[in-house]
Amino acid sequence: MNHIPDAIYFKDIQGRFVFINAAGAQGLGLTPEEVLGKTDLDVLPPRLAKKVIKDSQRVIKSGKAIIDRVDKVPEHSAAGEDFYISTTLIPRFDHRGKCVGVMGMARDVSKRMQFEHLRDKWLPMEKKLLMLEEMARVKSDFISAVSHEIRTPLAIIKQLFMLIYDETAGPINNQQRELLVKANNNIDRLQHIIEELLDISRIEGQKFSLSYSLIKMKDFLLDSAPFFKEFAAEKQIALEYRMPKQDVAVFVDPERVQQIITNLINNAIKFTPPHGKIVVEVKVLKSKVRVGVLDNGPGIPREDLFRIFERFVQVSTGDGAKRKGIGLGLPIVKALVEKHGGEIWVESEEGKGSRFFFTLPRFYTTNILSPKVRTKINTMLEKRKSVSLVNLLVVNFEDFRKRLDIDTKKLFRDIHKIVSQAGQDAFNRFSAGDYIYVTNLKEGAVSVVFPYAVKEEPIFCDLIRQRVKNYFLKNSLNEVFMALGLVSYTSESVRGEFDSQNFHIKELYIGSEMRLYKRVKYHVRVCVTRGKGENLVADTQDLSLGGVCLITQAPLATDEQVGLVVSLLKIRKGISVQGRVAWVSHVEDHSMTKFLDYYRIGIEFTGLDKKQREMLAKELRLYYE
């Protein structure tokens, strides 16, 4: 009892202390021996003593205990801080049931009371916050739910309207025609506004999700190029596409990416005067693909530049182009880009045109299903009820192969072993004859097709994942980032030859899914040297062999070449490297009471020499888990 921080004591019927523990005595400023035999009046200040005696007497007379009663002790309150004591008094009885005294416990609960006070303040705020979140969700869902109701009367108006306008209901005179044209323009305008509202509320709603597939960026963009070129030509604007030599794969929602690019190109066409020029450029970065839409129009005034992605902001067009929407185009595009995990930003100066950039995550693998695998799947589907496909893809296989110490054939043989063992462990009835195993050594893919669906499949995938990871670790592959991602494809993206209900696909990626180099969180000050000898100081957010992410107060220009001096903290060396600005992201931080705007800037290292690379790799390894 002497080790308990609470005061514990026993008193007899006369109120004399028969026992008190160390803490209790300490609280009175005495030793336990000094307290024994004394009463409250001897050891406590008078007012307090009277209170305590009253409590004890009450407990003794009634036989009822006082449990955890909290009292504020004013005499002991320091300025600004309240002192609270919790009192527990329990009557003690002898074997005949006669009361022989009390046992008391006293505890300092000031901290507890402080916490309870804070919590009382916080609970209503939390409730409000939850309510707001719920309202936002409900609003979004509400708008989506009524979208059908909104569209229907609009469609009817348009329909009936057209019947008058195209003279199905009889001839119309010129005056009537003119009125109808104006009315129709406004119907279109209304339609456009409603579509934008519905779209953004859908994107922000609970149920929104992207439907991913793997697309080749160059092909994808060039597909719609003729249409845009024609559209631009109507205004005598030249539209040029600047593409990288090789095509690059991205893992995105094609419909939404089309929406993004359409919006940006349409804007460029809208805001560029006749005989102007627009360039759509695609740049392949180390872990992203960056698309730029550049024009030589009037540019965006500085004060509008930061607001341009905000809702309901409409920038004046200069040449009086009619406003169609309500300023939701760019916010929608921004929401979509960010849902993909990309960044979007703009660089512009009045009189010097505008450059809109956005990035999308890059994917290092090629087409998913080879013809060999497809035929096998079709054969199985003809015989069985349902089929599952687990596809293991070694991402960035070319690069991966160079770093491996193992012969590729052996690698796939080993993986085969791992997969079949995992199969036996996951499925009770899995046997060699049940599954079809196809390897595509050229592209680094291993496919397993088996005739069971769903239930055990996640276990199967997990086992494969774990064991393949261990296998790679055992074979000490240090620099390669091992992220076994798991992605599920709906069979539509396989170009539906298969009966959608019976076919399940799971993909496992070995290697870097979206990043070529593993990034670690890294915080250090760096000095950035720009072209004209300007220096600026920035903080790093993360670091990898490929580059660094900086936090700065002012933006850097896209593709700008900079020099960086980075101190590597653990190995205690500094390196001075060259880099190029890959992407820029403007962040508004309105948390708490601060109103901070800052920039996150992705810089790719260009020309690291062998020694620097080694130092960087050494430093990074110390941060890997």
Partner: protein, 128 residues
Amino acid sequence: MSKKVLIVDDEQDMVFGLRMMFESNNFEVMVAFDGQEALNIARQSKPDIMILDLMLPKVDGYRVCRMLKFDEKYRKIPIVILTARTSAEEMKIGMDVGADAYIVKPFDQQVLMDKVKALLKQSGSSAL
């Protein structure tokens, strides 16, 4: 001989407009305002083409389409789904139940008529 079109939509004004449009293109027009009526008329009068809305009382558009398309006697009737629902999944379901075309409201009259004519041509009837 003029072609018969069965227009199915629970919005009366919509039906009114579509009727006018088809009649001015020399179609004979039949209408239904709910799914059950649509099935009855389709089975009795075998139209040359159907314009089908999805949100219908009694039996919804998907089921009407599916039931006709899965029936040997009526599956040859081309069905154009005309609806305000736009999501990709819904479009896919439309295709899955066997619709021959899926057009979103608000629609362009010309686009609809062109599609109708193309489908009639396909199903062996001569276009107008």
